[in-house]
């Protein structure tokens, strides 16, 4: 087990991502943040909070559950559905920033794009992730990355967040041999 991001590292990465989102979108007026449950939703709240502090205004922030749009539903037992909470202002014509903890195959993000299409038509969709571990299976790329983490397929990347796991930390470990 190897700690690759400490609590301070995560906090710094989220602050930088928040600044980058504001820079890219020339401020926050048209931005809406959507986190992908479970951990992405908490990261989205943190990023929205940081952006609100910088800009001095509220940032629309919500969650987007992708369970019903997954392409691997039939390969596993049914999963619990998480809440989808779209901000009051909606996403129509907005610059939507999707936030997730780990970018891996890209399939979650593909499902998220499908789910988003059901809700409305944003002006742009951008992607922010805490960790990009590579091994993409689809042509998907993140716009804002906390840390690029080259990993091997037999390793697993585990993100812990205070809200769920009691502490902030990203570790990489060898997958247990079956």
């Amino acid at each position: 087990m190897n700690v690759v991001l400490s609590a301070e590292d995560i906090s710094r990465a989220l602050t930088r991502i928040s600044h980058e989102i504001l820079e890219r979108n020339h401020g926050s007026t048209n931005v809406a943040i959507l986190g992908i449950p479970t951990r992405g939703a908490h990261l989205a709240l943190r990023v929205a909070e940081i952006m609100a502090k910088i800009e001095g205004t509220n940032i629309p922030c919500g969650t987007l559950d992708i369970t019903l749009h997954r392409d691997d539903l039939r390969l596993r037992p049914p999963r619990a559905i998480m809440p989808t909470l779209i901000p009051q202002s909606g996403i129509e014509g907005r610059d939507v920033v999707l936030i997730d903890d780990v970018l891996f195959s890209g399939r979650t993000i593909r499902s998220a794009l499908d789910a988003l299409g059901e809700v409305g038509r944003p002006k742009t969709v951008q992607l922010a992730v805490l960790v990009d571990r590579g091994h993409r299976e689809l042509p998907i790329k993140a716009d804002f990355v906390g840390k690029n983490l080259p990993s091997s397929l037999d390793q697993s990347v585990r993100v812990s967040l205070t809200e769920i796991d009691g502490r902030d930390e990203v570790v990489i470990e060898s997958r247990k041999q079956p």
Binding site: L68, H69, L73, R74, P77, P78, A80, E118
Partner: protein
């Protein structure tokens, strides 16, 4: 979970899993999205060998919102009316590639029989079998109660529900007693002795013959339809007397707690077990039960059909 045949087969975790899934799906139903791709390419057959409006339409709407293909099949106008057996009907459905069969049948145990035999490989969902069970109705009733009175908790601990009327012929009552008890609610059945089934003492609930003594203490009162089509004997002297002792009218409604819910699984006999004034009152959640039914049935289809059929798990 492979089938949904009876509430008795569910454990607490599975029941709450279905209710929680329904909660998220109802939020989607309230929003602008009415269609989800989740069950694309799956076929759901509604096999209704007994009349139904709500349940059939509700299952059809639920399956369609999840993008499943729906085939409706009712006894009238099908080969069942020519005397085809359940086995042959099931094998026909199997040959057509049904992933799930929603069955309503006048014989108790019909759904169980369909599931136990190897006539077909799909999931079986009991939509009412004789006087046995109607699990999806119980789930939507529990969902409705939890939504109004659950105060954010996942079960129904501390709530008291009265189920009133024709318990003897009611599959809704049996499913509801089992589910409400599983979720921690207290249940009191209210009916004349002639309309209580044999062995009622073994059910996890209390029994009363006196409606008025129960009403002031309950959080929800569920009125059951007097099932005249199943009544081959005389169970009460006449409709007026039944209505006087066991009907919910405006006067009785006033003795309820202020937040108590009035429920009815439908179809109603207005003027018999429930007066029109009560059925249309602000406390009645009867039409809301119908809309919640769609979300709950979507959740049932999701839990049974969305995952892999080889590795069937629960939440």
């Amino acid at each position: 979970m492979k089938h949904l045949l009876s509430i008795a087969d569910l454990n607490l975790q599975e029941a709450i899993g279905i209710l929680d899934t329904a909660t998220e799906l109802s939020r989607i139903n309230d929003g602008q999205i009415k269609k989800l791709p989740t069950l694309r390419g799956r076929t759901v057959v509604n096999l209704f060998a007994e009349d139904s409006t709500r349940t059939r339409i509700s299952f059809e709407a639920a399956a369609k919102r999840l993008s499943a293909d729906v085939i409706n099949f009712s006894a009238k106008g099908s080969s069942i009316s020519k005397g085809e057996s359940l086995k042959d009907t099931a094998m026909t459905l199997q040959a057509m590639g049904a992933d799930a069969v929603v069955i309503r049948h006048s014989a108790s145990g019909a759904a169980q029989r369909l599931a136990d035999n190897q006539w077909m490989s799909g999931a079986v969902i009991n939509a009412g079998d004789g006087t046995h069970e109607h699990p999806s109705q119980a789930l939507l009733d529990a969902f409705t109660i939890r939504k109004h009175l659950g105060k954010g908790s996942s079960d129904l601990q501390g709530l008291h529900v009265a189920i009133v009327g024709d318990i003897l012929h009611s599959r809704v009552a049996r499913s509801n007693v089992l589910l409400l008890a599983l979720l921690g609610a207290k249940v009191t059945l209210v009916a004349p002795p002639t309309l209580l089934p044999i062995g009622i003492k073994k059910w996890p609930c209390a029994v009363s013959y006196d409606f008025d003594s129960v009403l002031p203490y309950v959080d929800a009162v569920m009125m059951l339809r007097v099932q005249q089509e199943r009544m081959t004997e005389l169970f009460f002297p006449n409709a007026r007397e039944y209505s006087r002792y066991y009907g919910l009218n405006a006067e009785r409604m006033r003795t309820l707690k202020p937040a108590a819910l009035i429920m009815h699984p439908g179809p109603m006999n207005r003027g018999l077990e429930i007066s029109a004034e009560v059925a249309d009152s602000a406390r009645s959640v009867i039409t809301e039960q119908v809309s919640n039914g769609v979300s709950v049935r979507m959740a049932i289809l999701y839990v049974l059909l969305a995952g892999s059929s080889l590795d069937v798990g629960s939440f």
